[in-house]
Amino acid sequence: MAEKKKLLEIKNLKQYFNQGKANEVKAIDNITFDIYKGEVMGLVGESGCGKSTTGRTIIRLYNATGGEVLYDGVNVHGKKSKKELKQFNRKMQMIFQDPYASLNPRLKIADVIAEGIDIHGLAKTKKDRMERVYHLLETVGLNREHANRYPHEFSGGQRQRIGIARALAVEPEFIIADEPISALDVSIQAQVVNLLKQLQKEKGLTYLFIAHDLSMVKYISDRIGVMYFGKMVELAPADELYRNPLHPYTQSLLSAIPVPDPISERTRKRKSYDPASHHYQENEPVEFWEVTPGHFVLCSEKEFKQYQTQIR
């Protein structure tokens, strides 16, 4: 991993909603991780664990309560001039979850896709603009005739591909995919995942892939972070995480994924997770320990020692 370049460094990121009020929610509670150039970083967890908030905070849709997001060494948050912001907007893009809500129903597909082109002035002439739109449509497997239609005429999978084309229009380096397939049918999910993989290879993209479907995340990701109630509890290379899950929450999550295989389904044992099972002492420091190279777990020092012996 050492030879890989860090594209994004997330340091002690915090996102509290209703800060200081009685109903304060620690949506992201002090998480730290890096994303390397050219990799797919998966982020999994259950609803409300803060995985989507993490994505949205990284791309500045929310202002962070604390911590830093460094992109190529430059902090994304904090005061920025309009020009600097636009630069970030071009480098970082997002694909959204709900293909029915993520396209403006009143715009033609051509205008949906060309929005980024228009904002950043990437096309000099009208013809150039349309050429780019056609090219993007073809990149995501649609035809030029689709440019003049409205979003409601498309199926979910087609809309999601339009959303991908919109993100690609500004030629980003880094894409946050916020549950891009969870609203799609099984037969369509594979299409979208294949498209994302193929684009990554062709354009050298880096992804933050947020999802709750662990089997898809495992398939597409190089490394996976597991979140639980605003904290990252485990971070490891994808294979390693599936082979040696250390944190009990990760273990329970893995044991809960249904697999399309009746025989293993009949025999599987599910584990449940109870945060009290750690038996942490009061004031016992719980930190992100690196158990084996690249495999981090949120645990106390005692647990860390135990994990280390366990893994050998």
Binding site: L61, R90, M94, D98, N104, I119, H146, R149, R166
Partner: protein
């Protein structure tokens, strides 16, 4: 469950070629929002009929006064209080266009013959001898103008105020909403009456009086919509692309509210007409010789027993306009409301 058909020839079982691009083809004709909405409105017969009636009424409001030889403000006191009389229809007795009136003792007489008037006032004349037909259309024209202007101003102020309030959110939103609450809290009628007293009755003051409180409901509706759209993914997507606030509001939010804005405006037009009529009726409306539907009803009301037609005709017109606008608005709501889409 099974059927075996061995009769099918073998050459049917050779691989066929299907163009993969074909399955991405969309069979339906491409319809934009307005075409789609029109298809839906068209299904609602009542709304379509009312729309036609409204169009006719609006045309007549401009053309009507030109159709009679009499002007709406020429007073011919000699010919005052004449009942309706229309050529060709005057011999049809069950129609009220034969120029007859009823005396207090119940006997009927033909006012035109008795007073030796050789003229046809289609809807009769008022107590100053002005042609009601001309006055009716002139009044409709003025009432519609006031209503449309009031609705338009309501819309402009309401949409802007609501959009700003909802989009900025936070403290600005709180303050702007409190202001609306204060305005709504003061009884409407008091504000309007005070406004008219200060500004002197006339078309513009009535419009001002109507809009000074009228925009609040639009502002609230638009604010609610903006709050809803603020977290929609297509708005977030525009933000991540670097779109400016103005373009988010005007390109992404407002076009998606067209339906609701139009419906709201359509419902506020009949309200404005009714309110204008009400103001005129209590004497705060337009002054002579100007006519609006409200003043016509008010004038007719004074001699309701003797000359009922003077009040009934403008009243029918108000009722017709109100019903038509409400039904069209209803039809539009069914057609434009995204929740009803399948």
């Amino acid at each position: 469950m099974t059927t075996k058909e061995n009769t099918i020839s073998k050459d049917m079982f050779v691989p066929a070629h299907v163009d993969p691009a074909k399955s991405e083809k969309i069979a339906k004709k491409s319809l934009n929002f307005w075409q789609d909405s029109w298809l839906r409105v068209r299904k609602n017969k009542g709304a379509v009929i009312c729309l036609v009636i409204l169009v006719v009424l609006i045309i007549m409001a401009f053309v009507g006064p030109l159709l009679t030889p009499y002007s709406y403000d020429t007073q011919t006191t000699k010919y005052n209080n004449l009942p309706p009389r229309i050529q060709g229809l005057e011999d049809v007795h069950w129609l009220p266009f034969d120029g007859t009136l009823t005396r207090k003792d119940g006997t009927e007489y033909n006012a035109y013959e008795v007073r030796k008037v050789d003229a046809y006032y289609w809807f009769g004349t008022d107590n100053l001898g002005r042609d009601i037909f001309a006055r009716l259309w002139k009044g409709t024209q003025v009432s519609l103008f006031i209503a449309f202007m009031a609705a338009l101003v309501d819309m402009l102020i309401g949409v802007t105020y609501g959009a700003v309030s909802g989009y900025l959110g936070g403290r600005v939103d709180s303050i702007m909403q409190r202001i609306i609450e204060v305005i709504v809290g003061i009884p409407n009628l008091i504000i309007v009456v005070l406004m008219i007293l200060v500004l002197k009755p006339g078309i513009i003051p009535i419009i001002v009086a109507l809009t000074i409180t009228g925009w609040t409901s639009m502002a609230r509706v638009v604010r609610g919509q903006v709050l809803k759209f603020k977290n929609q993914e297509f708005v977030l997507a525009a933000k991540t692309l670097g779109a400016s606030d103005l373009s988010i509001i005007f390109k992404h939010m407002i076009p998606n509210m067209f339906g609701i804005i139009i419906i709201n405006t359509m419902f506020s037009i009949p309200n404005a007409i009714f309110f204008e009529a009400f103001l005129s009726f209590i004497g705060l409306g337009l002054q002579e010789p100007h006519a609006s539907l409200g003043t016509l009803v008010n004038d007719g009301f004074k001699s309701m027993i003797a000359f009922p037609y003077q009040m009934i005709i403008p009243s029918i017109m108000i009722a017709l306009i109100m019903v038509c606008f409400n039904l069209v608005a209803d039809g539009l709501r069914d057609a434009l409301d995204p929740k009803m889409r399948d």
